[in-house]
């Protein structure tokens, strides 16, 4: 592979960059390397952090150095194009837009000269790709937002965003799995539990995985309340 760059991030981690920009091709390469490293693990690698166009590899410093790891990774990278990825899962996420669940909906509409209904229609019309999970457990970075919805994040982040809130920032959108601080503009909220810690140690904890395709389905306040109780 030609467009790969290695960059030590710390004495126990190495960043592998596939270019400098968010592209579906870079995303594909990140997923392929992740898959290859998960199916054929390298002794001494302790953790993997995929992102838009990079993969951070954490390793055991008593077993590996940056140069060792680079040398071991090269043949993996040579095989990357041949790595088959599983077919993407399609996942629908019900969202109650606006009101107390989406406190920034009206402002976002105003910023773009639209009505709130148009913002909802646009947000729910697109099919999003899960680029990666990061920030906190189960937080999926979804892209890309329709160009007409690209919005900067809040200048002052909220101290507490309720779990399930659906936000937008730049050309990304995401669901907050936990009540955390956050600077994304909130359009709505889903009653789904995005991260399930208590489902046994073998089943998937996160509703979304890297590579999934996501669509948002507008629901009423009543439906939200009914699903939220379930």
């Amino acid at each position: 592979m030609s467009d790969v760059r290695f960059q030590p991030a710390s004495d126990q981690s190495l960043l592998v960059y596939f270019g400098q920009h968010i592209t579906l091709e870079a995303h594909q390469h990140v997923m392929q390397l992740l898959r290859l490293l998960e199916s054929e693990p390298i002794a001494g690698i302790r953790n993997l952090h995929p992102a838009y166009c990079s993969l951070l590899i954490k390793f055991d410093v008593l077993k590996l150095g940056h140069d060792d790891l680079e040398a071991i990774l090269r043949p993996y990278l040579d095989r990357l194009e041949a790595v088959c990825l599983p077919e993407a899962r399609n996942i629908e996420i019900p969202v109650c837009y606006g009101g107390e669940h989406g406190p920034d909906l009206n402002e976002v509409a105003e910023m773009h000269g639209m009505t709130p209904a148009q913002v909802i229609e646009l947000h729910a019309s697109a099919m999003y790709e899960v680029y990666f999970l990061g920030f906190v457990p189960g937080f999926a970075y979804l892209g890309e937002l329709p160009a007409a919805l690209v919005t900067p994040r809040l200048t002052t982040p909220r101290r507490r965003v309720p779990a399930g809130s659906v936000g937008i920032a730049g050309s990304q959108t995401a669901v907050y799995p936990f009540a955390t601080p956050g600077g994304w503009r909130l359009l709505g909220r889903t009653p789904l539990q995005m991260f399930r810690p208590d489902c046994g140690d073998t089943s998937p904890k996160s509703l979304l995985s890297i590579g999934d395709r996501v669509r948002f389905q507008p629901i009423s306040r009543e439906r939200f309340a009914a699903l939220d109780k379930a």
Binding site: A51, Y52, F178, S206
Partner: protein, 311 residues
């Protein structure tokens, strides 16, 4: 199995072990003890596996009743602990008789003290680890800091007591560093030379807003570098490493710590070397630190030196 009754929880007391590695792809950071060397040594004093869970206390310790007795060891910083009023020595295995009360007071040195018990603290593991991840409410004891009235169990033990004590010279080697050794961060060269000089030439103070997610520092503001790559005007989010020193738009550095976010979009000027990460766990609000740039080759050697030998 014996019980530990929490009479007073202290400021922030959580169940921690060496953390859960390998769940970066679902956004779960390792968590684990803020000062893992102290935790390991405490476990070794008791004959526990290194991976046994213990209680991590922060600045102000708790008060614990042991109805059936236990064998315990306190490691890390000196919090002035007493057992039924008698001072307890740090870094030593101690036999607690049934009904005795261990009172751990407040810090006389660093930020964290570990209460290790023979058999380890028994909790339902989450993704293979007992560590508490406070922000997301996962792992540990009900995913939270301990409260008054909680009852913990420790795991099975062989029940024997052996007096073990850490050698004086080993303790000296464990003294937390105020000058933290760092390597260049992935975006170090994005910062102008003047900002890097300022960073390495200045003292920074740890603020009250610091926690297990990150240590927020105050000191000279670092001039924001130009952004070579742009995505809606921001750097492309990437994986972040433990001990990364990121510089947000305000110019004040933040050191990412054990409960860190797994990815982030701020530029990193430097990264604390792994041998000095346990020192981060002992930094208190208002402590002053400096950063010293070291070469990559120095890191591995110092990690080998600092790692506790098997006793």
């Amino acid at each position: 199995m014996t019980e530990i009754h929490v009479k007073l929880p202290g400021l922030l007391t959580t169940v921690q072990d060496l953390g859960r590695e390998g769940f970066g792809p679902i956004g779960v950071s390792p968590s684990g003890a803020a000062d893992p060397v102290s935790l390991r040594l405490g476990n070794r004093l008791l004959g526990n596996p290194d991976t046994s869970a213990a209680l991590e206390m922060t600045l102000l310790g708790g008060t614990f009743l042991f109805p059936q007795g236990a064998v315990v060891a306190l490691t890390g910083s000196d919090f002035g602990a007493t057992l039924d009023g008698v001072p307890v020595e740090l870094w030593t295995s101690v036999e607690v008789s049934p009904g005795q009360i261990l009172r751990v007071r407040d810090t006389r040195s660093g930020a964290r003290c570990y209460l290790c018990v023979q058999g380890g603290i028994a909790v339902q593991p989450f993704l293979g680890s007992a560590s508490t991840h406070i922000l997301s409410g996962l792992g540990g004891f009900e995913g939270r800091a301990l409260r008054k009235g909680d009852v913990l169990n420790n795991g099975p033990t062989e029940g024997s007591f052996r007096k073990r004590k850490l050698a004086e010279q080993a303790r000296e080697r464990l003294a937390p560093r105020q000058i933290l050794r760092v390597t260049p961060g992935p975006q170090a060269l994005w910062f102008p030379e003047s900002s890097r000089q300022l960073f390495y030439g200045s003292r920074y103070r740890v603020t009250e807003e610091s926690n297990r997610m990150g240590l927020r520092l105050v000191g000279p503001h670092l001039q924001g570098p130009p952004i070579p790559t742009s995505f809606a005007g921001e750097m492309v989010t990437e994986g972040v490493s433990l001990g990364a020193i990121q510089v947000p738009h305000g110019g004040l550095p933040i050191i990412l710590f054990v409960e860190q976010q797994t990815t982030g979009g701020y530029r990193k000027i430097a990264n604390v070397i792994s041998a000095d990460l346990p020192s981060l766990g002992q930094l208190r609000p208002r402590d002053e630190i400096r950063f010293e740039l070291v070469g990559w080759e120095a890191c591995c050697a110092s990690r080998r030196r600092c790692w506790p030998p098997r006793s």
